[in-house]
Each structure stands twice: as C-alpha cells, then as structure tokens.
C-alpha cells in the first residue's frame, strides 16, 4: 500500500465548490470532470492531485445538492478517499455508490495537515501517517462490497449476473 499526499480543507465544503453548477447539466467525460474538481475552492487541486492522495476536511463535507458529479469528479481525479469529521448525508451515499471511499475520523482531521504523507487501511480501519495512526470504524461489509466493485452500478451488475433470474 503506497502512501498519498493530504489535501486539507475546512468545514462545509459544499457540492457547488466541489463541482460547480455551471457544469452540472453538461455531460462530460471522466477526464474533463476531474479537471473541474474543487475548481472554485482550490484551483491547485485538479492540477496537482496524484493517484492515492486523500482529502482531509472538517464537518459536513459535501453538503448541499444531490449532484453525483461532486463525488465522481474526485474519484476520476484519482483521489483514494475523503476523510472528514462528517459528511452531508446524500453525499456520503453518492460517494459510496460511485466507488469513492469516505471515512469519518475526528482524530485524523485534528492532526493531519496539507502535504502530509498518509495511507489508509480500510480492512483494519486505520489511517497511518508520520503524525500517528488514527483508527476509524470500518464501513460495514455490505458497503465495502460496493466500494470494491467500483460502485453500486458495477456491484448491481455483478450481483444480478450471478443471481438466479428474477421471477417473471
């Protein structure tokens, strides 16, 4: 497991700054969506984010609209996970359903700073960094299954393909 870099943000990072409304009703490719990630909050992010990086933020991350692109753009940018004190509830669902891991850890949010190296072990529920190891409650197995499949759509495809045909 390779460590990634921390991008640190504050409270109430809303869906409009994660993925601006002016792009919400355009159908863009994953690469184009990634370019607009966090455009109105931190233009450095899209230009410099590397696969495996994580966002560490405050409370109510992803509050606001139910637009799924606000989670998808971070996934397409290569982000490994978002660690926050809390999440807007529809964002939390959308992130998991689109295959972007979301982790709640007060300790990690207190300690980690922008540019820190950190890695996340989802099976053990641990964030490891030079500043310490922070434990979090692992996501339930059923939810991990969705993340491992790469999102709910893929998970559903596989599940339906392996299941007995539905009753007619």
């Amino acid at each position: 497991m390779s460590a990634g870099k921390v991008w640190k943000y504050g409270d109430n990072v809303n869906t409009d700054v994660l993925y601006p409304g002016r792009y919400t009703y355009q159908i863009l490719s994953p690469e184009e969506m990634a370019k607009h990630a966090l455009e109105d909050l931190d233009p450095d992010f899209a230009a410099n984010v590397r696969p495996g990086d994580i966002i560490v933020a405050g409370k109510n991350f992803g509050c606001g609209s139910s637009r799924e692109q606000a989670a998808a753009c971070l996934k397409y940018a290569g982000l490994k996970a978002v660690v926050a004190r809390s999440f807007g509830r529809i964002y939390f669902r959308n992130a998991i359903n689109l295959g972007l891991p979301v982790v709640q850890s007060e300790e990690a949010c207190d300690s980690l700073e922008r540019g820190d190296e950190a890695e996340i072990d989802f099976a053990r529920g641990e964030i490891r960094s030079p500043r310490g190891t922070f434990r979090f409650l692992p996501l339930p197995e059923s939810v991990i299954g969705i993340l491992q499949a790469g999102g709910l759509l893929e998970y559903t495809k596989k599940k339906l393909a392996s299941a007995v045909p539905p009753k007619s």
């Binding site: 109430n12 409009d16 409304g21 409370k59 109510n60 509050c63 606001g64 609209s65 139910s66 799924e68 809390s86 999440f87 807007g88 509830r89 529809i90 939390f92 669902r93 959308n94 359903n97 689109l98 339930p140 059923s142 939810v143 969705i146 999102g151 709910l152 759509l153 998970y155 559903t156 495809k157 599940k159 339906l160 393909a161 539905p166």
Partner: protein
C-alpha cells in the same frame, strides 16, 4: 430499551430487530422519481437488465419543468413516457397532477409504516403521515429499479417537543425556519427528526407536511410525526390498501431532545444565501421586493393559499411586485378554484400558474434578474437558485409572502390578521 419509529419501520422491513447505526438492506415500498427519471433511465440501461424488478413500486411524477419549457425537457418527458409504457409502470403521474411531494400523499402512497425512497432531497415530506421517507441519488435509484433493494443506515433520532399554540399570522413554516436558524443547517445530519409534544398533535396534516419537508434543510435523513387520528382521518379515501401505524416507544432512545414553545414564535425569514441565516420579520421589514412566490412542495397547499387570500382580500398587490401563485397539485388547484380562493388571489393581482415546481429550482416560470429580491415560500435560498447569482431569496411563510406582496417590501403579516 424501546425503539424509535424509524427503528421499528426499518426493522419490520428488514425482518429483524434493528438499532440506530446499523446498515441494513431493505426492499422499499415505493421508489419515487420525477423529471430526473430521464437521467435515471440512462443509468438503468447500463446495468444490463431489460425489466425493472418491481414496476408496481415505482412512482414517477412529472413536476419539475412542466409543461416542458424547452425541447430538451420535452425529449426527457417523452423518454420517460415511453419507458413507463415499456416497463408497465402504472404509477405514472403526468403534468396534470402536480408536485410529487403533494401527489404522493394525495394519491395514498404516503401512509404510516411505509418505506419510501425518492431521488429528490425533499422526499422526507412523507414522514408527516408516519412513513419513513428519505432522499437518495440517481445511480442508486436506477439500481433500486433493477434489484428492488437498497442499503440504509438506521439513523439516530433527534426529538423536537412542541408546546403552546401558534399566534395568528405565524405558521409551521416560521417554526421550521426558527429551528434551523437556532441550530444550523446540519443540525440533524444523518439523523431522523421526530416532531412530538402536545402541539404536534394540534398541527394540521398540511403543517406537518411543511415541517417534514423542511427537515431536509436540517440535514435530516427523515423527519416525521407519529401517525394519529388526524393523519388517519386525512388518509380516509386516499390510502392505497391497509397500513400498519407505528410510533416510538415511550422508552425509546433519542440522541437529543429540543423544545419549542409555539406561543412565543414570531414570523421568521431565512435571509440570503443559506436556510439557516434566519431573522425575525422585525429585523428585515422594509426590504424592497420584486417578486413573491406562494407555492412549492413546502407551502402550496390549500391552507397556505387560503392564508395568503385572507391577507390580500380586497387589497391590491404592490405595482412593482410580480406575485406568483402555484398550487402544489391540481387537486389543490381545483379545490382553490371551487372555494373562490383563486379568485381572491387573482382579483388582488396575483399571477396564477399551473401546478408544478415552478421557479423554485430556477428552471422556468419566473426567474430573477441581477439585483432582484424574491420572498418565497419555498425551502432553499442558495445563491443563484432562482436565477441570477446576484439575486436574493428570502424564505418565509405564505402569510409573510402575501403581506410583502401587498406592501412591495418585506412586511409583518400580523398587521393584516
């Protein structure tokens, strides 16, 4: 330890004892979507199954941009109508029904003990009648169509005890804004909100729908009232089949309890650009207004229109103001037509529009230009929501909206009652 309504309803669905914090998979009773069904259909096609699993559970209401204002929306509606026919979805409500959050209660889907998920953030409205109802995303709506299953985390519950009686000119909307102003827009994030206490029983079903609707602006997963005689009475002739009323046990575990005395409540406004930027009317009175919107899933019911009509009766809307009235459904529209309420509003100079979401989401029918101010009975005042990013939305009750329409500036409705 007793259980909350939410734990009980979800436990019955999951077929086991559940408690807050658990993640369960359930088969919902109904899955709602609206004009966004066109986008959901696109996702559904990617799954690789031909047929939806349970067509009888899918409810589709066209309400967001009706009638279609542009060709692309006309195409979306056409795609949805074709899909509905192809899949044998009977619970389809075309543009002559109204806003989904009014249509589902009226058509008897929203009943005690049901689990309803909807790809709209104001789906919690149905908790007004004792259902568990929550908003979900588009991808998961598509997957729920395919599998008839959805995962849910059982939420902790915050209880809000209500006592006292509302004064004239003060309504459930003012209460919802006061609560959100006091505790912030994420006060109930992930949680269920139970509206309880002696005053909860006194509130009309319409008022309960307003509060449950506004629980979404508290961040809540679901908001609800324990079903009682008032709810059962309202459901007579509407409920689709039998239902099982469920209420929280007296010894249920609530994560927190708030208390509000309705008798000391004043009219409130949520000022730009967040729903929790709430002030009593006295602090914002006099602000010039260009448009007033009376309607939406929050406040477009008959009692809301009646309240507005009482204020504008035998008066004229201020010449600078465009006063838009949008009944929440065609049932409400027809009732207000027959009772004379629409005539009173039209005589005063209001513009009566067809039932639907109207300009609330900023798509059509009365958008705002830069610098314009709107007093709206809707539920969100985010920057740019109803038009230009430099327009301003003040959220208020139907009474405050009507009084402001008369005066051409934000006004206290209590002078008129």
């Amino acid at each position: 330890m007793g259980k909350t309504l939410t734990e009980k309803v979800l436990g019955l669905k999951a077929g086991k004892d559940v408690q807050a914090g658990e993640v369960i998979t359930v088969s919902p009773d109904y899955v709602l979507s609206h004009d966004n069904s066109a986008a959901i259909i696109q996702e559904f096609r990617k799954i690789g199954v031909k047929k939806v699993r349970a067509p009888e559970k899918i409810v589709i209401v066209l309400d967001h941009i009706v009638p279609a204002s542009e060709e692309k929306y006309a195409q979306n509606h056409k795609t949805i109508r074709e899909f509905v026919a192809e899949q044998g979805i009977e619970n389809f409500f075309d543009i002559n029904f109204g806003i989904c959050h009014q249509v589902l209660p009226e058509q008897g889907f929203a009943v005690p003990g049901k689990v309803i998920v909807g790809s709209d953030s104001h789906t919690p409205s149905y908790g007004a009648l004792g259902a568990f109802a929550t908003g979900i995303g588009r991808t998961e709506t598509a997957c729920t169509w395919a599998t008839d299953e959805i995962w849910l985390r059982v939420p902790e519950t915050m209880r809000i005890d209500l006592a006292g009686r509302l004064s004239a000119g003060v309504s459930a909307k003012d209460l919802s804004l006061k609560i959100i102003g006091d505790h912030g827009a994420e006060m109930a994030n992930y949680k269920a909100v139970e509206f309880a206490g002696p005053a909860a029983k006194e509130l009309s079903v319409g008022a309960r729908l307003t509060l449950a609707n506004m629980s979404a602006e508290m961040g809540a997963k679901n908001g609800y009232f324990a079903p009682d005689e008032k709810a059962f009475e309202w459901l007579k002739g509407r409920a689709r089949g039998p239902f099982q009323p469920v209420a929280s046990d007296p010894d249920a575990l609530f994560e927190s309890v708030l208390a509000y005395d309705l008798s000391v409540l004043e009219p409130q406004l949520a000022c730009p650009h967040t729903v929790d930027n709430v002030k009593p009317v006295g602090e914002v009175e006099g602000k010039p207004v260009h448009q007033v919107l009376i309607g939406t899933c929050t406040n477009g019911r008959l009692e809301d229109l009646d309240e507005a009509a009482r204020i504008v009766k035998d008066r004229q809307i201020h010449p600078r103001v465009r006063a838009l009235v949008i009944p929440a459904s065609w049932e409400v529209y027809r009732e207000a037509l027959k009772s004379g309420t629409l005539a009173v509003l039209a005589d005063a100079g209001c513009v009566i529009l067809n039932s639907g979401c109207g300009p609330c989401l900023g798509a059509h029918e009365g958008l705002l230009a830069a610098g314009e101010v709107c007093v709206s009975t809707s539920n969100r005042n985010f920057r740019g929501r109803m038009g230009h990013r430099d327009s301003e939305i003040y959220l208020a009750s139907p009474a405050t909206a009507a009084a402001s329409a008369i005066e051409g500036k934000i006004a206290d409705p209590r002078r008129y009652l």
